[in-house]
Amino acid sequence: MQALPTAASARAHARPPKVVGWLLLAPLLVWLAAFVVLPLLVLLVYSFCQRDDLGRVVFSFTWENYERVFSPLYLRILGRSIGYAGLTTIICLVIGFPVAWFIARQTPARRNRLLLLVMIPFWTNFLIRTYAWIVILKGEGLLNALLQYGRIIAEPIELLYTPFAVLTGLVYAYLPFMILPIYVSAEKVDGSLVEAAHDLGAGPLRAFSSVIIPLTQPGILAGVLLVFVPAIGMFAITDLMGGAQVPLIGNVIQNQFLRARNWPFGAALGVVFTLLFVVTYALAQRRRRRHA
């Protein structure tokens, strides 16, 4: 990226909107208000409602749904979801960071080729990529066949529907989302800074922690957000890889809206999840600002 022009010069062409400008902007604002803001407000209203015996929503105020969300059972599920998402994020960071850094240090031609190799899994449908792991981990799947062939195990073992499988699926799905933003930051780092650190006697660890990490922090932050937030609510991967063994918040929400038909409770879970998302972003934003 080129040096950004100063705010004043960048906005010099822009004029005060008057009525015409606001009218032109209206479709965009109306769309966002109707399909982003309004739905969230309706969700909030629903979360304070009750339901009748047929599962219909009754518009009478109650705190009951939130009491249930903060009961030990659901707090444990929420905690477990955050745990899985956090673990996924850390594993993606540890695996992905060296890759992003390595790609950023290549000649432009090689860099582009390696980047294409990251883009392909990035854009490949995550269901397909999750299914690939089902083929590998299933009882009659590839890994079991290989292990039996190698006489390491006698009987097929259940690899799918375990926490290990869930974590593998999540890491596999989100790894490219960690590599790409870190690459963008790493590419901007002047290689001579790292060499200077070495010349001044910094060991690899020291150079890493006091030069490389701070310089790539915006990318790390973006990657963490891109992995952590979606991973909390992802129900498809946990459904496919975990069976019903490890219920996470996403599965519970999905269940409330489909099978259990307790929309108000599902809405309350959704509202809590939204707050979690807002807090995560606000924290990241504050860190970013402090960094800048």
Binding site: A10, R11, A12, H13, A14, R15, G21, W22, L25, P27, L28, L29, W31, L32, F35, V36, L38, P39, V42, L43, Y46, P98, F102, R105, T107, P108, A109, L114, P121, W123, T124, N125, F126, L127, R129, Y131, W133, I134, K138, E140, G141, A145, Y172, G191, S192, H198, P204, V229, G233, L240, I253, F257, W263, G266, A267, G270, F273, T274, F277, Y281
Partner: protein, 278 residues
């Protein structure tokens, strides 16, 4: 931005070792990323039905796929939804980016945040909140609801892509057109839009792919008749191994590779002419 090649050849040996280690690690990670996909494609040509042992080469599963009614219908649904979504997203995104660029609105920052919200919001929250909205509005689930949902999370990507391109455009361009007698609309349509074309195209491509791939939001906003391809795949994958799904995956992967190569080509076209081609 560029790393001078001379500095690399003079690396101290410790750094060289580090480079070697990083290279090996990267190769391993690429193996991790690509082996499962490769396995999938490989087994899509296997004669055996539910066995992982290789028993012979066949196109059988592709033939089955090409004549599978539910999958074909889901594909058709997906294509219709993605096309309408892309067209609407391009209009909304391009116009929005241009208006936000041309006028100095009060609350521009807040508007920008609102635009970015659908891109970062957890999909499940978007899905259930739209579901309750449609219920309150008594709008039955179907093409309309899915398309509304898809436009909502797709158009911001077009808008942001166009915004990035607008940064590189000479602001005097529009003024010159206006001075030469063009109406503001003509200036936008005949001068600005052509200059934005690469960004619009790559934004459109992104919107199309996002719409085609989306599962979670669609899950809550579609009905049985508008099941999209990802929903169909999700249903099939839940039931376990299915060689037809291997074939479908292979088709998905090959089209993704084509898409990535094409958008890379677009990106190169979009690059300012002064930049070196690599």
């Amino acid at each position: 931005m560029s790393t001078p090649s001379t500095s690399r050849s003079l690396l101290p040996s410790g750094l060289k070792l580090l480079q070697w280690g990083l290279g090996t690690w990267t190769a391993l990670v690429f193996a991790f990323l690509y082996l499962p996909i490769g396995v999938l494609i490989f087994y899509s040509f296997n004669t055996s039905r539910l066995n992982i042992r290789w028993e012979g080469f066949t196109f059988h599963w592709y033939e089955r796929l090409a004549s599978n009614e539910p999958i074909l219908r889901a594909l058709q649904n997906s294509l219709i939804i993605a096309t309408v979504t892309t067209l609407a997203s391009v209009v909304l995104g391009t116009a929005g980016a241009w208006i936000l660029y041309r006028y100095r609105f009060r609350f521009t920052g807040a508007i920008q945040t609102l635009v970015c919200l659908p891109m970062v919001m957890p999909e499940i929250v978007m899905g259930i909140s739209l579901l309750v909205l449609f219920t309150v509005l008594t709008l039955p689930l179907g093409f309309t609801t899915v398309i509304i949902a898809h436009i909502t999370f797709c158009f911001p990507f077009v808008l942001v892509a166009v915004q990035a391109r607008l940064q590189g455009i000479d602001p005097a361009l529009e003024e010159a057109a206006l001075d030469l007698g063009a109406t503001p609309f003509q200036a936008f349509w005949l001068v600005i839009v052509p200059a934005l074309k690469p960004a619009i195209l790559s934004g459109a491509l992104m919107a199309f792919t996002l719409s085609l791939d989306e599962l979670i939001v669609t899950f809550f906003t579609a009905n049985a008749a508008t099941r999209t391809l990802p929903l169909q795949v999700f249903g099939l994958a839940k039931t376990g191994l299915n060689p037809m799904l291997n074939a479908l995956s292979a088709v998905f992967i090959v089209s993704t590779i084509a898409f990535v190569l094409f958008s890379e080509h677009l990106r190169r076209l979009a690059r300012p002419s002064g930049a070196p081609h690599s």
